[in-house]
């Protein structure tokens, strides 16, 4: 699923900023953008003011983020401060401006042949799953989700997945299941494997989801992350190796890639 982006970047206003556990959620007004980006598509973001001059004299390039929600001309995004780009973005509040390009890439395809949607992810992988849950719920089926987080502070981000019935796992056991999200996913697949798994999360988690789905012969769509300079196919920096050989660009051929096309999810 791919909604075309208006040509070029546009200047948009942050309409609110909220802290949700370890995450910062920004809402931006995007009156010029298409009203219905496809769940799993992403936007390139940079601040208009002071993009650069942070730690190590960065950031310089825009950063790619899947949208969390798109409603009535408002987009929302979720960040965790993990580097110079996300640090600057996480500082923003209502009234500040962003450069925004998108929606970009190809999003999720909804299930067919009666399979149920099973959402599996965690950490900053919540947004594309939340956007997908909204689509599925609007079609009349509230999906099941399993989410993994580091600890209770991060697990607060699970509330952002409004339109799914979510079960949470944490690495430290501070909330929910003490263990890995793939353990919750395995239980779900044992209960009913006639499913399509939709996943987004850190590379290690995505790889575990991929391997588990392959083992159960369950189709999976993985929303991948890769360092990219442009987001629209220009730089060729964001490639992942394919099972059949060669590479595809995460920005234009993904970010959602069928797990069956990969031998593994790269570590970075």
């Amino acid at each position: 699923m791919r909604t075309l982006a208006p040509l070029g970047r546009r200047r948009v206003l942050v309409s609110r900023g909220d802290d949700v556990g370890a995450y910062r959620v920004l809402q931006v007004a995007d009156p010029q953008g298409p009203p219905l980006p496809a769940a799993g598509q992403f936007y390139m973001l940079a601040t208009v003011a002071r993009w650069g001059g942070g730690d190590d004299e960065r950031p310089y390039l825009p950063r790619a983020f899947s949208f969390l929600s798109a409603r009535r001309g408002k987009l929302s995004f979720m960040f965790e401060d993990v580097g110079p780009g996300t640090r600057r973005l996480a500082e923003l509040d209502a009234g500040e401006e962003l450069w925004l390009t998108g929606p970009l890439g190809a999003g999720f395809r909804t299930p067919h042949d009666g399979r149920r949607a099973l959402l599996a992810g965690g950490g900053v992988g919540v947004p594309p799953l939340a956007a997908l849950a909204t689509v599925l719920s609007s079609h009349g089926t509230r999906p099941t989700a399993v989410l993994g987080f580091r600890d209770e502070h991060h697990a607060a981000g699970a509330v952002l997945l409004e339109d799914a019935d979510a079960t949470v796992a944490t690495d430290d056991g501070s909330v929910g299941h003490h263990g890995l999200v793939t353990e919750l996913l395995a239980a779900e697949l044992a209960r009913d494997a006639h499913a399509v798994v939709y996943s987004c999360g850190p590379p290690g988690m995505l790889e575990a989801v991929r391997a588990l789905c392959a083992e159960h012969d369950v189709p999976a769509q993985l929303a991948l992350e890769a360092g990219m300079a442009c987001g629209f196919g220009a730089c060729y920096g964001c490639v992942v190796p394919l099972r059949e050989g060669g590479y595809v660009r995460v920005c234009v051929d993904g970010p959602v890639i069928d797990a069956a096309r990969l031998d593994g999810v790269p570590a970075h």
Partner: protein, 288 residues
Amino acid sequence: MIEFCGLQLQHPIVNGSGTFDAIAARRAFGDALLADFPFSAFVSKTITLQPRAGNPPPRLWEAQAGMINSIGLPNRGLEGYLEYDLPQLAQLPVPLITNVMGSSEDEVARLVEAIDERDEVAAIELNVSCPNVRTGLDIGADPRSLAALVRAVRPLARKPLIVKLTPNTADVAAVAAAAEGEGADAVSLINTLRATALAPSAKRPWLGGGTGGLSGAAIRNVALSQVAAVAGRISLPIIGMGGIASGTHAVDLISVGAALVAVGTENFRDPCAGSRIASELKSLQIRH
């Protein structure tokens, strides 16, 4: 309209090879891209004789006010370019410059001959930042090997021949003079500066290709210096590039001798950087 090597161009802003994929951009932005194309001519990514998958990732590193890339020239090869890419690039509303690279005179000759036959292509750019198979040295780093290459392929091209110079050489003006001496129609510079990034924790090279090329704002003053040096030595038209992000930057490069200005890394930050810079340049030129 401005004239460059017989090409009629709407404005002096083009793209640097490998910094804008018009086919992929059309997938993202649709036909709006054709209606408002950012450049006055489109320079293709580098085409090689055989297909190349490119370097293993990671391929990018964000540097201070710039980036290092080690992409490895992925492309479909000559046959794939002619069959698949060229018909799509021919739909662009601007002249097409095809960039080619080979590791021997024979390879480059075969590329130039095949591309020169195609009416869809307005000019050919030679990427000479490639190790010579015999010497292992970059062809474009040495005036004598560059002269030999241009001498070998010049008679094969009826179209304008542009030599894309590498900055990774002791005397870029001497290499430019060699290109001029053998009948090149224009030169373009600067390509990226060879650079290394270390993985933060492991202190080994981060990029899958080992070393990469530095581009962006960080190299703008290197570009000014090298374009000025080349302009002082030869009389061919120059496509200047390196860290251009505004009309003011373009004016600077033109003032030291560039006829056209190419935008590279800034395209990644702003997909319409070409149109923006062209319009900024126009208003600056009217003012002065």
